[in-house]
């Protein structure tokens, strides 16, 4: 937050990987200007293929959603609500309240990650800095992580793109971080809407920012960090205005492994019942 005495952590060299420090992203839409520099920087640094050049008609968002070839996605949300204490000016056709919110979406790097648990090859791992990383050379493209992510982030890259067949998502610029560099999106963000840093620092910073916004009239400002659910918090968390649903964020994301117990009990019961039925068939009817 510029001019508020908080030091920028986006432009410094660091040694978080060597020191095993948990890091994260804090993304603040109230200072985002929707320039999409994060999307571009991500694509350039990680050499991610293009994701089509189509017009969506959804405000200025022609990116659509996160996926195998979209690791940062700037949302453009047009809502008929006032922004803070803002009053609709003479430029608007009518005096209806209106606001335009930009939010740069990214892989959440869950504390309990569905994709990581689901991966049958061990391709998806937890790094020293607490991020979730897909090792591209190990992934065989089974597609199970795709349906196991409660946020719909990871996806399998279709033919005929480069490196097709494997599952891809944000790497938290693990390669950059190993060399003491800040992830490309945070590095390039001109307003520090994306802040990179120590997770505990960022959480404090986020709480402070919400308080500040509440005081200045943004009554619906809140942090999106589902620590109360089985996901147990996310390392790339967001400040949002209004409800999470409007951003396509699940209000109560759950890691699918919580469903395993009841499903396996049902499977074992079915297995035993099938054996009994078969033996009964042979015993009584042959």
């Amino acid at each position: 937050m510029i001019g508020e005495g908080l030091q920028s952590t986006n432009q410094r060299k660091h040694s978080y990987v060597r020191d095993h420090v948990e890091v994260g992203f804090f993304t603040d839409p109230t200072v985002c200007i929707g320039c999409k520099a994060c999307e571009v920087a991500c694509k350039e640094w990680n050499q991610v293929p293009d994701d089509g050049f189509t017009w969506s008609g959804n405000s200025y968002d022609n990116t659509g959603h996160l996926g195998a070839s979209t690791w940062r996605h700037v949302m453009f949300l047009e809502q008929d609500r006032p922004k803070g204490n803002q009053v609709a000016g003479p430029m608007s056709l009518d005096q209806d309240p209106f606001r335009w919110v930009f939010l740069s979406d990214v892989c959440k790097h869950c504390e309990e990650a569905g994709c990581l648990e689901a991966c049958p090859t061990g391709s998806i791992v937890r790094t020293e800095v607490g991020s979730v990383l897909v090792q591209n050379d190990v992934c065989n493209g089974c597609g199970y992580c795709v349906v196991s992510c409660p946020f719909g982030v990871i996806d399998r890259r279709p033919e005929p793109l480069h490196d097709a067949g494997g599952a891809f998502k944000c790497t938290f610029c693990y390669d950059r971080q190993k060399s003491g560099l800040v992830p490309a999106c945070a590095k390039v963000c001109p307003t520090e809407s994306i802040v990179f840093g120590r997770l505990d620092d960022l959480r404090a910073r986020g709480a402070k920012r919400v308080e500040q916004l509440q005081q200045s009239g943004y009554k619906d400002a809140q942090l999106y960090d589902p620590t109360e659910t089985s996901v147990r918090g996310i390392h790339a968390f967001f400040l949002i205005l209004g409800e999470p649903e409007a951003y396509g964020l699940p209000p109560k994301p759950q890691i699918p492994t919580i469903y395993l117990k009841s499903a396996w009990i049902s499977a074992f019961a079915t297995a035993i019942a099938s054996i009994i039925a078969t033996l009964a068939g042979f015993a009584f009817f042959s």
Partner: protein, 329 residues
Amino acid sequence: MTNGPQAEQRLEQLREEAWKKGVVPGKGVDVAGGPIPRKPGYYGQPVVKPPVWTWEIPLYFFFGGMAGMSGVIASGAIIFHQVDLARAAMWVAAVGGAVLSPILLIMDLGRPHLFLNMLRVFKHRSAMSMGAWILSAFGACAVPGLIALELHAHQIFPGTLDQLLRVAAGIFIFGSAIFGTLLATYTGVLIGATAIPAWFLHRVLLPIHFGTAGLGSAAAVLELLGHRIAALNFIGFYAAGVETALLVWLSVDKHGAADRAIHDHGSGWLIRIGEVLNGPLALALRFFAFIPFAAISFLLGALVSRVGWIVVGKVSGADPESVFAAERY
């Protein structure tokens, strides 16, 4: 475009249309959603990703279930000295479980040449990893079991060696039964423990359906191969009966918008058609002793309902409101 009143009027018209229909079809106009999103969530974009799986996976569920439960039938046949039936069942188990299933699974991989990476790790918290190991273990039992059984049945080797083969066949066929039941049922866990609402809301029903459909398919295919015996008929009755109960369960156990892919959508009809074919219809045909028709009906139903569950997953995963509703549930 000029800023004249006519253009303004046209713009207003388009906005009005976009507001009402969500989409404006017209030359040079492609407005999906209009300026302020009125579709659920973020411009109606999916919240979770629908499955990327294609036709190979429901076919694998079908053949894997059939092969797995054939191992159980083979064990029963061995215990009750029906060697011919056991041989046929082991053929179904080996061809379905050790040939067709791996081929279908490998075909569905994004990078088929890396299929062996499935056996890099053992993760009990990943149903996909467990499935890969279960399928491998099943194949490692069914193929030697079949070979030992055939060698023993044809009396290729004399004396002690034949006795050894007999014991080996028994052990491997017993192993096929154990891993076979898991092979037929784990697929329900596989799709039940995901983030797709229509799947995880029915995670208890799915293994029962997949396992029982596997058992009924195994009995049905053996009957069609000419083994018209009372024991298989009983298994057929049991499977069709359970599937009928599941059809009732599925029509009662509704979760509103969260699983509307099953109840309000065309994709649900695939499941229901499948369930009718392998439930009440197979039961009725069997009751009137039209055994081959009952078997065919059951097999068709088992296949169609498997396809239905994958299609439902695609519809449900693409529906943001289902995800929100399931989480508010």
